[in-house]
Amino acid sequence: MLYREAGDFKTTYVADMQTFPIRGERILFWLFVAFCFAVVPFFITGYWEKSILVPFLVWSMIALGLNILTGYCGQVSLGTGGFMAVGAFACYKLTTAFPELNIVLVIILSGAVTAGVGMLFGLPSLRIKGFYLAVATLAAQFFLVWCFNKFGWFYNYSASGQISMPTRTLFGVAVTGPDAPPWATYLVSLTFVFVFAWVARNLTRGRLGRSWMAMRDMDIAAQIMGISPFNAKLSAFAISSFYVGMGGAMFFAIYLGAAEVTEAFGIDKSFDALFMIIIGGLGSILGSFLGAAFIVVFPVFLKNVMVGGLGWSTDLAAHVEIMTVGALIIFFLIVEPHGLAQIWRLTKEKLRLWPFPY
């Protein structure tokens, strides 16, 4: 009953361009947002924070970033792990060099630093495409991780080679470090993701988003329409890296607390991010969230069911979990190659007419 467009007429272009064109959907969305901001913080426990919600939010941010580059602009990247490391190390260096600097600003600046590095490694995209570009970005992954391992300056010459996040406060409440209460880290992550998902939505529906998608769908026609490949591709690399860098900074500062570069930002992270956007849906903001949920939250859920619910041993559960996730990835890719977001879109199209499809 809620999902009806009958009687919901659009009389202005602004109304026609809304993200949620159907009133029922809009109401549900804002109720959900209100629930996330106003209800969840009162009930959140350390387990929910550390294992589910914060990693989900941080990965959503990273998936959003990669989706801008790969989903919207069509440039495949396997350098996500490396760019996350840039964000994390920028955050570490900034916050240790300027302890007074507000943590929100530090995270945003880390994103900006990563944007610069991303543009540099995006330069090959002007010459090469597809798999070849993927290999070129793979070089970024290995080079950046090597670089952060090799030069002590990046980890302040600590004996272990690790970086660890000192406690930083926001409005007098610790949001990083071991003493940060779960609700605070959750709210900071949620606010970041909410604001920047909105920004991503705005960027992708305007001029910039159209120039990215045009470059993705037909690059020669895009050039003939007057879209410069230099601007379109490098802006996609910059903005994508900005998101991934902020995600990396949050991953390190809020979620992990301490990190060792090869361990935390290896090639597996690049693949995780790529799987997220492929399963979630390329070129879809919602898809980034669905993909992150599938890769981050679903395994935790499975484990709880198998170990907690069925009483299986943990190692058996771990293997079954890997098998299940793998099988589901294949299943989803066969059933709907355009990802979970497309399944959701098709469901909505059916719902519009349900239960009277004629």
């Binding site: 272009y13 602004v14 361009m17 920004v199 705005n202 960027l203 529906r205 305007g206 001029r207 910039l208 159209r210 120039s211 998608m213 045009a214 993705r216 769908d217 037909m218 020669i220 026609a221 895009a222 050039q223 003939i224 329409m225 007057g226 879209i227 410069s228 802006s235 070129g283």
Partner: protein, 276 residues
């Protein structure tokens, strides 16, 4: 014919400082080679403002190469191109677009994952100015600009009678409609010169008639100068003001449709010459 918008109220055309009937584009002694293959040899012709200029010729005559030279996609080895009084040889395609040259393609080159509306909006990209931060918040200048351009695009959508497919991804549309959307995308750029590469290829009679009507309307109502490549001689003879005929990369005829159809070289090129 009922139309939501009177085309005369539309200004899908930019003021280019060239008076009607004067030379808008002049191609002079242009030669283009790919290695040893001579695609175009010493071709000269001009396009006058406000006319429909057809480029015809058998397959492989160099017609599409000629269009690619005009909009900067290929750089000719010899010769010059003068557009709106500015002479050039090498240029980037994006610059050609900014100077007001728009085109459609023989094999449709739409952005398949985007909706009809977004495709046509893409045509206005060179006219949009708002910066990154304005776009990020989607309020104030960026939104105002978007609405302004949306308004113009809606007028084009009305003109081409494609309102019903506004929000459909173009990959799902039938061929004839895709051709029409592509014309819309080129029109959205408010071109001074519109290049159409086989706008009627693969269409049935009704679709051809529709497309001819759109081309004539664009020309007469907006005053847009059009250069088109077409194989359907009936259409070419009916709608074009002047025709240039190419064969094996050389110009063999130039003039009004009547003159060209009487030209012995043209008849030979199309019908073949008996070899003894």
């Amino acid at each position: 014919m009922n139309r939501a918008v009177d085309p005369r109220e539309l200004k899908v055309h930019r003021d280019d400082g060239v008076a009607k009937g004067d030379v808008l584009l002049e191609v002079k002694d242009v030669s283009l080679r790919f290695g040893g293959v001579k695609a175009i040899t010493k071709i000269s012709f001009d396009v006058r403002k406000g006319e429909i200029r057809a480029i015809i010729g058998p397959n492989g005559a160099g017609k599409t190469s000629m269009l690619n030279v005009i909009n900067g996609f290929y750089t000719p080895q010899e010769g010059t191109i003068t557009f709106r009084g500015v002479e050039r040889r090498a240029m980037r395609t994006t610059d050609a677009a900014r100077q007001g040259i728009a085109r459609t393609f023989q094999n449709i080159a739409l952005f398949k994952g985007m909706t009809t509306l977004d495709n046509i909006m893409t045509g206005r990209i060179t006219l949009q100015k708002s910066n990154l931060f304005a776009q990020a918040v989607w309020r104030g200048p960026a939104l105002r600009e978007e609405l302004e351009h949306r308004h113009r695009v809606e007028e084009i959508i009305d003109f081409l009678e494609i309102q019903h497919i506004r929000k459909v991804p173009v990959g799902r549309l039938p061929y004839g409609l895709q051709k029409r959307v592509e014309l819309g995308r080129a029109l959205a750029a408010e071109p001074a010169l519109l290049l159409l590469d086989e706008p009627m290829a693969g269409m049935n009679l009704e679709e051809k008639e529709d497309m001819s009507r759109f081309i004539l309307d664009v020309n007469s109502q907006f005053g847009t100068t059009i250069a088109l490549i077409e194989h359907d001689m009936g259409v070419v003879m009916d709608i074009s003001d002047r025709v240039v005929v190419l064969d094996y990369g050389r110009k063999i005829g130039d003039g009004s449709p009547e003159e060209v159809s009487k030209n012995q070289d043209v008849i030979d090129a199309y019908l073949g010459v008996p070899h003894e």
